[in-house]
């Protein structure tokens, strides 16, 4: 079997595996549900996830040790990950082939020539890592934004919110099965990146991908590479014909660009000149990434400015967005932003669909991070569910035990995890404002004993009579902020009972009560 055939099999395999792991990311024990499928695995394999979170938190979340395997593979063999494993890369590869296959040879060769702009991705990498560089602490000048462009979180997010949702539609499950706010933007971005391949094959991989850049830097240590022997080479340039990385295999080869696709072996008209062997290639090599020192410094400086600029709005200080409710088990906001890679696994796995990717409303730093939207979905945040924390690859949401979530089995003193607190809007609530009876929120409150109780009142009506009303009142010592009341409130537009992040467990500074008496 030719190595290129093996590569295509590997690409198809990993793309299928990736898609499958996205499909099964729903709580349950059936074969097509979560069971024990390693739904975080591709994210854990991603060295940029590991490097980014290691910079912001000065520690490595246990599952991310998998990334070491990819780092070792890259050090030994070069960017095999890009050419053989990366599911996003495979999509680009296929689309690029689709766009190129009917074009004349000359144009195909031109499309795969090395372009100086391929150095841009190193700038992007430098900026993203620089933004993550300064540690979390009092000054909080680090922000983890690698997830915006890191291909694995990007493709995971795109699959979870857009591709699979379209699949749901196609399968006739209807548009109402799952909603994701802002999925349009995520899907459009994905589509645009995929379609760019029709113009330039593997556009994203060559010019944008920060993970490819990272692996390019690491891969230059490899003892082997594509080698070209000029003596036998007629310099026909056919090796560029299907070159994935645009790495100039005719030589001197751009080592950090080569994706180990091995197409040059197939395309070379003779057996001899292009091969795979010990470095250096006789035709010469360029080991260093093509970014200039000046551009690199500019990127780092720009990256360093990102976090301070992001924090100027005060969203992690006094101006914290009370409407942004983080899922149960989330760590405090500064560390959350230091860990979340915006992959959307938690959102996908949430059984009630109440968890949503944040838009720009809570500041662009929090873009696509998970937040509760009690108007979407089938119910609020279920008091006995811990799925989101277990789906999180980086520990932004802690993998809670049911005991800790529910405040029992040794966690009685801490009480159940609170994500926020419900507030009755007495200007909109039927019995408070409009003399109409309604006790939906009290009835539906899942906390035991109930966090909402009813206050009896006899109210004089406009026509001189009286009406007996039961008005809901929330007990902050009991409410866990699950939002089931908000979800069910009959005030359909702006609900008359709404949850905000006040009193959330994860930040003592957001507490309402001085003491939380255990129940």
């Amino acid at each position: 079997m030719r190595i290129t055939t093996a590569r295509r099999i590997a690409q198809a395999f990993f793309l299928a595996l990736f898609a499958w792991l996205c499909v099964v990311a729903t709580v349950g024990t059936r074969p097509w549900q979560w069971r024990g499928w390693p739904i975080r695995w591709f994210l854990e394999l991603d060295p940029l996830v590991a490097a980014g979170t290691a910079l912001t938190t000065r520690s490595l979340h246990p599952g991310l040790l998998w990334a070491l395997a990819i780092v070792a593979l890259t050090i030994l063999l070069g960017r095999v990950f890009c050419g053989w494993i990366c599911p996003f890369g495979t999509i680009h590869h296929f689309m690029g082939w689709l766009g190129q296959r009917s074009r004349p040879l000359k144009r195909r060769m031109e499309a795969n020539r090395y372009h100086p702009a391929q150095a841009v991705k190193y700038g992007i990498l430098a900026a993203l890592l620089a933004a993550a560089l300064l540690p979390v602490g009092k000054m909080a000048l680090a922000t983890l934004q690698t997830g915006l462009l890191d291909p694995i979180p990007l493709v995971t997010r795109s699959f979870n919110f857009a591709v699979l949702s379209l699949g749901d539609l196609a399968a006739g499950r209807g548009v109402a099965s799952r909603f994701y706010s802002g999925a349009g933007l995520i899907g459009a971005l994905f589509l645009a990146l995929v379609l760019l391949n029709l113009a330039v094959p593997r556009f994203y991989c060559r010019f944008v991908c920060p993970l490819g850049a990272l692996l390019g830097v690491v891969g230059r240590l490899s003892p082997w590479s594509i080698v070209t022997r000029r003596a036998k080479c007629i310099e026909c340039g056919l090796c560029d014909l299907d070159c994935a990385g645009a790495c100039n295999p005719v030589g001197p080869i751009r080592l950090s660009e080569c994706m180990m696709c091995m197409n040059c072996l197939d395309d070379c008209p003779s057996v001899e000149p292009v091969g795979y062997g010990q470095r250096p290639s006789p035709a010469g090599e360029v080991a260093a990434p093509g970014i200039s020192r000046r551009d690199f410094m500019v990127s780092v400086a720009a990256g360093l400015a990102v976090a301070p600029l992001a924090r100027l709005g005060g969203a992690t200080a006094g101006n914290w967005p009370a409407g942004m409710i983080r899922p149960p088990g989330s760590v405090a906001e500064e560390e959350f932003l230091a860990r979340c890679i915006k992959c959307g696994e938690c959102v996908r796995v949430c059984p009630t669909n109440v968890l949503q990717p944040a838009g720009f409303a809570w500041g662009w730093e929090a873009l696509w991070t998970p937040t509760l939207n009690n108007r979407i979905g089938s119910s609020g945040c279920q008091a006995n569910c811990v799925a989101c924390g277990h789906a999180c690859p980086t520990g932004a949401i802690r993998p809670l035990s049911l005991d800790e979530r529910m405040g029992r089995g040794g966690f009685e003193a801490a009480g159940p995890i609170r994500v926020g607190l419900a507030f009755v809007d007495r200007g909109r609530c039927l019995p408070w404002a409009m003399e109409r009876p309604c006790i939906v929120c009290e009835e539906i409150c899942p906390v035991s004993p109930k966090a909402i109780h009813l206050e009896e009142a006899v109210q004089a009506t406009r026509d001189g009579g009286t009406v007996r009303l039961q008005r809901p009142v929330v007990d902050p010592a009991r409410c866990i902020g699950c939002g089931v009341c908000e979800h069910e409130c009959p005030m359909n537009g702006l609900r008359a009972i709404r949850v905000t992040a006040d009193n959330e467990s994860r930040d003592r500074g957001h507490a309402i009560l001085l003491h939380h008496e255990s129940q």
Binding site: M1, R2, A6, L17, G36, W37, D267, A387, H390, G409
Partner: protein
């Protein structure tokens, strides 16, 4: 891609391709193996439907006898959490087939300091319930004639009701308190329907009444005399001169099984405990005699029955008691 010739790969290339495919196959195998071990979140989701241990459940009784009222919530424990409530004693119940424990403290009206705690162990079946009842029977127990089996010992009342074993532990030994415990026990029995009652009459008949110390018939559920191979054996203690001796008996499904277990127990005494096999020419039913740390053990089987003598003071005593129990089992207990 292959616009030109179909290049024919060399041996090295073929090997590398094959190795890559092997790696893919192992990744696939690993992922498939992994999916069998459920993620904690999935387990939590399936557990969420079940009632949580140690949290408020329905009270022990729907209505309470006069003067008694529940203090606080009822607690519930399963096999995983039993030791949270009774620590090291959990083993005793776990090895006998424990299913669940419900515990409820109950206050007595009129006398504020007096209270009691009811422990209701669901043991799965009446035999298990009898087993834990009999194996921890207190020495000064007096039969109480409540439910299938029952006794009272100072400040405590213990009963077997079908598959339930219940203890009512009082904070003092006053008559009024103990009568309240009895009322509570009777209410529990009346309010709790069981499909099958505990009855070990047939097994009690294994043991002659002469010389038997009252209330010592017990069912040992597992690890009989320390042997992990032997389970579900009835024992009874007898006065033997100045000391005591234990007789044991059990009925097995087949004669072969009884014979095999008798043999296993004998080899346990000899091989595992370092006992010395003693010749027993006069022993009935081909029983084996073992001297162990100065005491004598005797084991035999007869038809489906297995029986013997445990810790007899001397050889004569062992042989004498052996003939008593052997005669009983050989004729079939009445």
């Amino acid at each position: 891609m292959s616009y030109s010739k179909a290049r024919s790969p060399g041996a090295g290339e073929k090997a590398i391709s094959a190795a890559a495919l092997v790696v893919l196959a192992s990744v696939l195998a690993g992922v498939c193996l992994r999916q069998r071990v459920f993620d904690p979140a999935v387990l939590a989701a399936s557990a969420a439907g079940a009632p949580a241990p140690g949290v408020r459940a329905q009270g022990l009784l729907a209505s309470w006898p006069d003067g008694l009222s529940p203090m606080g919530a009822q607690e519930a424990f399963g096999p995983d959490t039993l030791s949270d409530k009774i620590d090291g004693k959990a083993d005793l119940y776990l090895s006998a087939g424990f299913v669940s424990l419900k515990a409820q403290r109950v206050g007595l009206a009129g006398s504020p300091p007096a209270w009691m705690e009811a422990f209701v162990f669901d043991m799965g079946n009446p035999s298990n319930a009898f087993s834990v009842f009999s194996s921890q029977r207190r020495p000064k127990a007096a039969d109480a004639a409540i439910a299938d089996y029952s006794y009272e010992a100072d400040n405590e009342l213990c009963i077997v009701h079908g598959r339930y074993y219940a203890e009512f532990v009082c904070s003092d030994r006053a008559q009024s308190t103990m009568r309240a415990a009895e009322a509570l026990a009777r209410s529990f029995v009346a309010a709790t329907a069981v499909t099958e009652h505990a009855n070990v009459g047939a097994e009690e008949a294994f043991f002659p009444s002469e010389g038997q110390i009252a209330g010592t018939v017990a069912l040992v559920p597992s690890d009989v005399f320390g042997s992990d191979k032997l389970s579900n054996v009835f024992i009874a203690r007898y006065r033997d001169g100045a000391g005591e001796v234990t007789l044991f008996a059990a009925r097995r499904a087949t004669a072969q099984e009884a014979a095999r277990q008798a043999q296993e127990l004998r080899s346990f005494f000899v091989d595992d405990c370092g006992g010395k096999a003693a010749a027993a020419p006069a022993a009935p039913l081909g029983a084996s005699l073992v001297e162990l740390e100065g005491r004598y053990e005797a084991v035999f089987s007869s038809g489906p029955y297995l029986g013997g003598v445990h810790q007899a003071a001397d050889r004569q005593s062992a042989e004498r008691w052996l003939s008593v129990i052997a005669a009983r089992l050989a004729n079939g207990p009445q």
